[in-house]
């Protein structure tokens, strides 16, 4: 904390300036502050510049890319987006991603909040065992189940349909979401539910009318996390969603890129189409994002 306010101190010192006033100490502080901001700004640029290149390149022609690969486009060309959206079928893939993500998010929230509530508030014989079974899922990577899951989905005729991604994603979302919701429900005061019960609510209406609305912050954190997970998922659709008509955006982008390897502006426009929705969701809900991600880690 000792470094904040130094600039104000200098201005109060008036004509004497910082150097003569307290000598070497002040000089060190000045270097310290400069170094601190230099590092912070360096990493800011490291994060942002590549994203700038995506947008800038997506607005160029192939000729412009060759002449000026890293700078601003000299003349903005939206055609790449139109081409990616129509010829590249990104419009179709975008729709697929929405069709896939919405039920995943809805059902993960619904099932996980029910189960999390049950495990937190309605202790029953075996509830600890059930919780541990869910927790074990946190330690098992998707790769451990991906091969047999392919044949299970094939047997129940889900392969080649949206269900092949929706249903497994709901199952895969359970461990973390239940852990998360259970922790939140455990933290809510017991009296609230009891009062509602005395007023004649049954277990389900206590959950639905009293507890779930109170869990708003946890639910919205989970919504953004699950949405990001569903939108960005890659390995799962790569294995189960190969059919062209049902591909989500991310997978569409991968195949698109291998088809148009040499057309960088077009590829970049595709990347931007995938990237922009998630960036917008992030910027709008960023507090929720951070809450969700840090909740498990810091407790």
């Amino acid at each position: 904390m000792q470094n904040t306010g130094t600039v104000q101190e200098w201005s109060r010192m008036g004509t004497r300036g910082p150097w003569q006033s307290t000598g070497r100490d002040k000089l060190f502080r000045f270097i310290g502050i400069s170094l601190r901001y230099a590092i912070l700004i360096f990493f800011t640029l490291v994060c942002i510049t590549p994203l700038f290149w995506v947008i800038a390149s997506s607005l160029k022609t192939t000729g412009q890319i060759a002449a000026n690969p890293l700078g601003f486009p000299t003349e903005i060309r939206w055609d790449n987006y139109i081409e990616a959206w129509t010829v590249g079928r990104f419009g179709k893939y975008f729709k697929n991603s929405v069709i896939i993500s919405l039920p995943i998010v809805t059902f993960v929230i619904l099932l996980a909040s029910l189960a999390g509530y049950g495990l937190a508030r309605l202790t029953f014989r075996g509830s600890n065992f059930v919780f541990v079974v869910f927790l074990l899922g946190l330690m098992v990577p998707f790769q451990s189940i991906m091969i047999p899951l392919f044949y299970i989905l094939k047997d129940i005729r889900f392969l080649g349909t949206y269900w092949a991604m929706i249903v497994p994603s709901i199952a895969l979302g359970m461990p973390f979401s239940i852990f998360f919701m259970r922790a939140y429900f455990s933290g809510l005061p017991q009296e609230l539910g009891d009062a509602a019960e005395i007023d004649g609510c049954n277990e389900f209406s206590v959950y639905w009318r009293v507890m779930l609305p109170l869990a708003g912050p946890a639910v919205s954190a989970l919504v953004v996390l699950q949405f990001m997970g569903a939108w960005n998922a890659f390995l799962l659709p790569l294995i189960y969603m190969q059919k062209e008509e049902i591909r989500p955006l991310v997978l569409g982008l991968m195949f698109f890129r291998s088809r148009y390897t040499q057309n960088y502006p077009l590829t970049m426009a595709g990347a931007a189409i995938v990237m922009v929705p998630i960036v917008i969701v992030y910027l709008v809900f960023q507090r929720r994002f951070v809450q969700g991600l840090t909740a498990g880690a810091v407790k």
């Binding site: 690969p69 099932l111 202790t123 091969i147 299970i152």
Partner: protein, 304 residues
């Protein structure tokens, strides 16, 4: 047991009994879908790994531990595991170090922490495919930023096709992974720093500790919880890394960037060696479980 159960039933009040039934009703939908699409395939993985199957034959030939014996002598697997090891070491230390550096710099008094946090986290939310496309572009032999910058500062002789050169490909991929991940470490560390007792840091300053000493002896110990947590998460992520490698190099050139996940994918889904692929996926499972177990034990020790 037969006598114990009714006794317990009698002890339960009607309210507790109602709650127990409701509890099961609340948990069952999640449990069913989880059991069918997660637990079931997990046990099938173990079973498949004990068979020789090409995915099409009606018969799965049971071979016992045959696949696992084959694993032990598979030099491609050992090479891939070696790459995972490099990945895990560099890919764990670097983003955590960067996250710590940025976290402490901001925590000890910088303006605009929300702005920095927003920006540092931005790469974390991007899909692996987008990240791969961005970095393929950065490493592009002709137009890529790396070679352009090297050319601009007169180091043309260092320019190369970073992903095409077996000597640099793995490190180039690692740089990409670090870029897309340090923001995550930063955010978690920032959250952990909120719980650090600043008066201890001030006390150490008064006692004459310099900045580095305060960092090592006062701040880091108080962050140990958070640091073990992200180390475990990052290690598991490193053992299972797939997307970035698959999209950027497909494990190549040759097998220079093959990791266990891309190797498993190739065996199971491109060469239809389902049994062998399942055995490989069990190796990944084992690595994740062992890491989680060590993490849980460490956590218990920290708590006691």
């Amino acid at each position: 047991m037969t006598t114990a159960a009714p006794v317990r039933q009698e002890q339960l009040s009607p309210r507790a009994k109602r709650k127990a039934i409701a509890g099961w009703a609340f948990v069952t939908p999640a449990l069913l879908i989880y059991a069918f699409f997660f637990i079931q395939p997990f046990f099938y993985s173990i079973y498949y790994s004990l068979t020789d199957w090409n995915g099409a034959d009606p018969v799965k030939q049971f071979v016992g531990l045959g696949n696992y014996i084959k694993l032990a002598g598979d030099s491609l697997l050992w090479q891939a595991l070696g790459h995972n090891l490099i990945w895990v070491i560099i890919g764990t230390i670097s983003p955590i170090a960067i996250g710590l550096l940025l976290g402490v710099l901001i925590w000890t008094g910088a303006q605009g922490r929300i702005v920095f946090r927003t920006i540092y986290f931005l790469p974390v939310i991007l899909s692996e495919v987008v990240v791969a496309i961005i970095w393929n572009w950065i490493y592009h032999p002709l137009f890529g930023a790396v070679n352009q910058i090297l050319g601009a500062i007169g180091l043309d002789h260092l320019a190369r096709g970073w992903l095409g050169d077996p000597k640099t490909a793995l490190l180039a991929l690692l740089m990409t992974a670090i870029w897309s991940y340090y923001g995550f470490c930063f955010v978690i560390i920032m959250a952990g720093l909120q719980n650090v007792d600043i008066s201890l840091v001030e006390a150490a300053t008064i006692d004459g500790a310099n900045g580095w000493q305060r960092f090592v002896y006062v701040i880091v110990p108080q962050l140990s919880h958070v640091l073990t947590m992200i180390t475990a998460l990052t290690l598991i992520g490193g053992f299972n890394v797939f997307g970035i490698v698959f999209v950027m190099t497909q494990g190549g050139p040759g097998t220079a960037t093959q990791v266990i996940a891309t190797y498993t994918y190739r065996k199971a889904f491109q060469e239809s060696q389902i049994g062998y692929g399942a055995a490989l996926s069990m190796v990944m499972t084992l690595l994740s479980l062992v890491t989680s177990y060590i993490f849980i034990r460490l956590r218990e020790r920290q708590e006691s």
